[in-house]
């Protein structure tokens, strides 16, 4: 930094500053994280190509083409997000919140039904899933809310306001019904509170409350004759607890998924040999159960590569939290990183029988435009925080 040795003309200084600014900007980007994401997206596309080869008769490249387009759109969005100072989100958090609620209400009014739930808005070329996009908006809003009340973070009121604000979109999503995304919203709320510095006491109370609500939904309410979950949702949970009970019924998915994963072995069965995927034994093998198909086709090696890439991404994400410029950025980064971890763990876990089946997509791999774009935007957000780090 020899610049300080000799004074320069303002013009030269400005030009230099700009130059160093752009260079510094690029240098401060987290390239390792970007490499991990690029690896995930390209590995995901390669895997999806093999998995969906037979899904659309006559067009083996249908899904992979669409998915590539979404990846491209997401990348453009990610670059766009880089240039926005995250603080804008904090300042306009009410707009963010309003946008999220409005989108969810629009889905409720105009949404398209698919397999018994209303999650999408038909947009011609693709179906937009606002609840996916809402994950990011919720993280931004909650982080802004908690950052604004940083001095009163120890008050119970602050925690309650945050929980209340998060409850509305969560309930809207739950009513679609989309338990998986609703759970993600809960995870994001938890992460925001956690990284904004909410006292352990409050967190413990919330955890206890969550456990109580879960128990009510699962056991107490049904035993009183009130069904909050749809029968299929309850069956899935029951099947998770005891998969050998009803192999043709609700446990079918878990059994077929575990069979697919196990059959993959070390090196995988390849695209042509993956009968579980090709003969449709594996339900939703391009979306929710994409990991099982991946494990079947690419084996332990492929699955391990994918998990390692996630680990790398999350590890770099933790670094971003640590070096964030301010509590708001740290909270946003924390929420994004935790949401990623949550989605990866629950999605992969459900395919191998250690988590209940919920419709949570696998980030960067599951076929789905909204999820792909949202996750890339989230990475953009992490990068935007990283370049503005201390």
């Amino acid at each position: 930094m020899a610049d300080y040795a000799a004074p320069l003309t303002p013009r030269v200084r400005r030009r230099r500053a700009e130059a160093t600014g752009a260079v510094a900007f690029l240098r401060r980007l987290d390239w390792i994280m970007l490499a991990a994401v690029a690896g995930l997206v390209s590995f995901g596309l390669w895997v999806v190509d093999g998995i969906t080869r037979l899904d659309v008769p006559g067009d083996p490249e249908y899904y992979v083409t669409r998915q590539s387009v979404f990846a491209l759109v997401g990348t453009v969005g990610m670059i766009g997000v880089l240039f926005v100072d995250p603080d804008y989100y904090r300042r306009y958090r009410k707009v963010v919140y309003g946008l999220m609620i409005a989108l969810l209400l629009v889905v409720m009014a105009l949404g398209t039904d698919a397999r018994g739930s209303t999650r999408w808005i038909e947009l011609g070329f693709f179906r937009f899933q606002p609840s996916e996009f809402g994950k990011l908006l919720l993280a931004l809003f909650l982080a802004g809310l908690l950052a604004g009340r940083a001095r009163r973070i120890n008050e119970l009121r602050t925690t309650l306001v945050a929980v209340g604000a998060a409850a509305l979109p969560t309930v809207l999503v739950f009513m679609q019904p989309d338990i998986g995304t609703a759970l993600s919203y809960g995870a994001i709320l938890g992460a925001c509170l956690f990284f904004a510095g909410t006292p352990w006491r409050h967190l413990a109370i919330l955890a206890a409350l969550a456990a109580l609500v879960g128990a009510t939904v699962l056991w107490f309410a049904p035993s009183l004759g009130v069904d909050i979950l749809a029968p299929y949702q309850r069956d899935r949970l029951a099947a998770f607890m005891n998969p050998s009970e009803n192999p043709q019924g609700a446990a079918y998915n878990i059994n077929q998924s575990m069979t697919a994963v196990g059959a993959g072995g070390t090196a995988g069965r390849g695209v042509a040999g993956a009968t579980q995927t090709n003969l449709d034994y594996l339900p939703e093998h391009h979306t929710d159960f994409v990991f099982a198909s991946l494990a079947e086709q690419r084996g332990f090696v492929g699955a391990a590569i994918l998990l390692s890439l996630y680990l790398l991404l999350i590890w770099r994400g933790i670094r971003v939290i640590a070096t964030a410029r301010d509590p708001f950025c740290a909270t946003v980064a924390g929420a994004i990183v935790f949401a990623l971890l949550f989605q990866v763990f629950v999605n992969v876990g459900m395919t191998i029988g250690i988590a209940p089946i919920t419709g949570i997509p696998l980030p960067f791999v599951s076929v789905g435009g909204s999820s792909m774009v949202t996750n890339l935007l989230a990475v953009g957000m992490l990068q935007a925080i990283a370049v503005r780090r201390r």
């Binding site: 510095g197 072995g265 579980q276 449709d280 034994y281 332990f300 201390r390």
Partner: protein, 658 residues
Amino acid sequence: MASISRIRPPRTRFMPRDPRVESPYRMTPQIALRLGVLGALVLFAFAVLFFRLWALQVLSGERYLAAAQNNQLRTIRVEAPRGPIYDDRGRTIVGNKLANVVRVWPASLSRRTRPRVFAKLSGVLQIPVAELQRTFREQHRADPLKPVTLAEGVSNDVVSYLKERIREFPGLTIERTYLRSYPSGPIAAQLLGHVGSVTPEQVKSRRYRNGDHVGQSGIEAAYDRYLRGRAGLASLRVDSLGRPRGRPRYSDYFQQGLALRLTLDAKLQRAAERALEYGIQVAHNGDPPQWAANGGAVVALDPRDGSVRALASNPTFDPRVYLGRPKQNDLKPLLDPEAAKAANYPGLNRAIAGLYPPGSTFKPVTALAAMRERLASAYATLPCVGSMEIDGTKFNNWNPYANEAMTLPHAIAASCDTYFYQLGLAFYRLPAQFGSPLQKWASAFGFGKMSGLDVGGEESGLLPTPQWRRKNFPNEIDKLWKSGDSVQLAIGQKDLLVTPLQMARFYALVANGGKLVTPHLVSSVEQPGSRGAAKPVFASPPRPVNVQPDELRAVREGLYEATHASYGTSSGVFGSFPIKIAGKTGTAEKYVEVGSFAGMMDQSWWCGYGPTDSAKLVVCVVIENGGHGGTAAAPAALKVFESYFGKKAYTQQYVPSD
């Protein structure tokens, strides 16, 4: 990191400073702790995932691989084509033909798209939507994993239409199957029976599996064991919805059912069915016209061994109505009681299950029994008069002007009622310790019980006895067996009910010299297509009944005179036929309901055999409500003989007769 934080960050337009952030944010110990917690969580979560994957894929991969391979192979039963049915000369009466089946996989037809798809299919297949829905529901409930058969025997045009637009019909598959075909035309419908899907009761009997096609009536049912063949086992690669991917690989090839060779003569059968229609037509055009003639039956037996050469019943139906997915409207007369009544029960095989009083055709039975019991002598005469009064009741002869002494052959030929009234009375007056000899002999001749026809579905008829009266009537007077009962039984009237088959069996006994045959339809079971490799089906051999040749000769003489003597009741019909036929007319009164009419009506009978001395064929014809025996039944029987012997009668004239 330290070096970066020491140097003031360069200002760029990308990073405007937030005025509210007064002091640079430092990581607090609290955040550090929480980051540590997150880091630990991440490590823990990934460790769990890795270990679980390792356990699944590397440690127990083999086991799951085997499970995945078992998943896709499904063992299916492949139904065998049924064996064909040949007539006695090897002409195919019932064969098989390849047909298209339209099936739908319930799993790929969601509840919401079903109405739309069915509406479209209904137009293409010409089946009402309601029927499609009902079929679907029934079969889906029975076995939710199997495809539902919506239509069988679909034409190739429809199939190619569907194949072109298969995307509009999710879950639809078109397969081939075998359906019954009838190359000899729609003959012997009631006798051959039909093939249908197995019923729940049959599944319970454990001989059949759900979805099998099984003979449900007639020969198809009686010989189902042979005809059905053995289903094959094949493994089929299927996807998760059970839709086949690829061709079945047989582990056990199906075996076609065995062929049945019948004693039936397809040509004679056709002639018999036409003869029935002719007989009904003749009755309609008779003098007086028998407007109510509406049905009948023909039995043609070989008297030497009891093989059935033709067995016709009218009204009849086209056996093809049962093919494929039957149309309910076509089946209504066969299944629905109301519609069946309106169509005069076309599903009833009158030849073996139609019950009629036999009238005068029963007189040879009385004659033989009376001679055996020494109540009559063949050539001693008895008066034949216009009417007789017995126990205060007046019994009329059919010919009120008759007044002469008759021998037994003469009485049979002229069908003199009063002659046989006297025999009946003689039976009645026998002391109680003799029992009921007329019924005993009638029973020995096969009346009142089933003949043992191998197809089944027979009625046993009713042979009235004093015991039967006592048992079945509530009223004290009705319980008594009275003289009128014996008198009427002697001429085959009142309570006696017989089937045409029983009657034919008795005339076979007369024709073959006193042996009771067991009628049968199947002569052998053979490999389809290969003549010779036959496994004969042994029918019980003719059983001699204790009748004396001279007594039998007297009856045969009477029967011959009946068709040739001037006083014979069907001489006008058979007199000029080049082959000598012997036989007896019958006119039996039966209570019937035809349309709005209810009352006694004449059932027209003719039973006989030819050639007289070495009979090759016994024919028994009944025309319901056809009037006198000589009017309708005898001309119909002549048609059967004409077809059998390939000769025509020169002239025919109507003779008033009984």
